[in-house]
Amino acid sequence: MALLETKGLSMTFGGLRAVAGFDYILEEGELAGLIGPNGAGKTTVFNMISGLLAPTSGHIYYAGEEITRLPAHEVTKRGMARTFQNIRLFSQLTALENVMIAFHRHVKYGYARAFLHLNIGREEEEIRESAYRLLEEVGLAERAHQIAHNLPYGEQRRLEIARALATRPKLLLLDEPAAGMNIQETARLKTFIQEIHDRYNLTILVIEHDMSLVMGVCRRITVLDYGMKIAEGTPDEIRSNPRVIEAYLGEETADVAN
């Protein structure tokens, strides 16, 4: 069954069409990629799916339910989590606190008990323990009490993924997880994504500008250019697709011209 489906998804900013009629199906358990040159509309697609942007038109379905225009926290509650292209950690808090916050939707006690600290000790300990365990699993246990802002860049990315995992999602959206990483870090990230995909039974959709990560880790890739889907297929098919080459070449010439 399709876990995520979009039909005719479109977004217009002012007069600019960022995404135009994007149809997409993601099956449960897939590890898929969405690529495209700069400004192709990838992040806009993510923002619409995760509820941060309301699409101009079109529909989004998650596990058979329409989630178009639901606010972000409602989307998260239904089992979807995401990371951000330009890391958005709670930068003044520790790594552990970052992850603890993400357990929010599993908190059972209400406001009154929070004000009175009525029997919340055990649940708080459980949250703290689960958060700590999650940090252990992503290899950040020693960083638990460090302020997120002070972590090295690669670890901040990893922490952001851990935080997304803490919401216990079925679908994880990764927005350019390799941005700003060197070759070694990217290689490590590749293994890491593969690992969490298998360990947590996740469905993962990765956005990447840089092709090497996606080509190595995704089994199916969709290419977006000027807000439209121009190709879809296995990494090999994508690599040899003339339209894809053209889209990326066009960008390179533009880069040179700049």
Binding site: F13, T43, N47, L52, L53, F84
Partner: protein, 292 residues
């Protein structure tokens, strides 16, 4: 109907004063994204300078106006250098708190130095009255309106046609890019404070003449209202401040004329909250979207 028109006339001169103060708010906000809380107090200082130059030095209206503007201008630049500049890269809230502090500092230093008692302003302008179809227009009202219009035209020329004006617009559009283009951002900011404060100083003198009394706390309410006028017109937009100021002045006159003058101050804030909720970018503003 006559009563209505009379209130509109009264509102126009009041509104032009608000517009003069609002221009300073809007220019400063446009450049450094700061609500300069102390701006209303600069207006008060302008009124006091006018008081001393005319009462003590016995100057006439025009030299007093020029001196008020010059001193207000200097004060604005000093405040920026001492209090705001060290915080240019701090969170905006930190600068806002500082501005509140500066505002209180000026107000209570003035009270300490000159007592909170109101002072009577000398009559600087002849007090003629024009009767026109049952409406009363005073010479002072015309004077205020006239001087406000001249100053606003001057500002328009300055911003649109001169090199400094172009630099100002460039910094307001993108401070970092302007700096890269070789524009001295610091002097542009000082210049903006100087011009905005000069206009507030002029407004202070005009109000002193019009209402005939000044006191150290007189800047609080007009300052807040002028800020509302700036938001109403679209903060950062110079014609917006003029439009907003006039609307505020007229609305306030109508409310005090037809309802009760005790509701006068509430009107400004009601307008503010409605505009923030309905069209936060103001009447002449454009929408902007936060980037995720």
């Amino acid at each position: 109907m006559n009563e209505f028109l009379q209130q509109v006339i009264n509102g126009l001169s009041l509104g032009s004063v608000y517009a003069l103060i609002a221009l300073g708010y809007t220019m400063v906000y446009g450049i450094v994204r700061l609500i300069n809380f102390a701006h209303g107090d600069i207006y008060m200082i302008g009124a006091f300078i006018g008081f001393f130059t005319t009462r003590v030095l016995h100057l006439s209206f025009i030299p007093a106006l020029i001196l008020s503007m010059a001193c207000a201008s200097l004060l604005g630049v000093i405040i920026e250098r001492l209090a705001y500049k060290p915080l240019r890269h701090a969170p905006r809230i930190a600068i806002l708190i500082t501005a509140i502090g500066v505002s209180f500092l000026i107000e209570y230093s003035m009270i300490w130095a000159f007592s909170p008692q109101p002072r009577a302003y000398p009559d600087l302008l002849a007090n003629y009255q024009l009767q026109l179809a049952g409406l009363i227009i005073t010479a002072q009202q015309l004077f205020i309106l006239g001087i406000a219009i001249i100053l606003m035209l001057g500002l328009h020329f300055l911003v649109q046609k001169t090199k400094s004006g172009k630099a100002m617009r460039a910094v307001s559009y993108d401070m970092d890019a302007a700096a890269l283009m070789g524009i001295n951002v610091n002097s542009v900011i000082s210049f903006t404070f100087a011009i905005g404060s000069a206009l507030a100083g002029a407004a202070g003198l005009l109000v002193g003449v019009y209402y005939n009394r000044i006191d150290p706390l007189m800047g609080i309410m007009p300052g807040l209202k002028a800020f509302v006028a700036a938001v109403l017109g679209g903060i950062g937009i110079i014609p917006g401040a003029m439009v907003g100021g006039i609307i505020m002045g007229v609305a306030e006159s109508l409310v005090s004329g037809f309802l009760s003058s005790t509701y006068r101050d509430a009107v400004a804030f009601a307008i503010l909250i409605i505009i923030l909720l309905v069209k936060p970018t103001g009447l002449l503003g454009k929408r902007s979207v936060e980037k995720v």
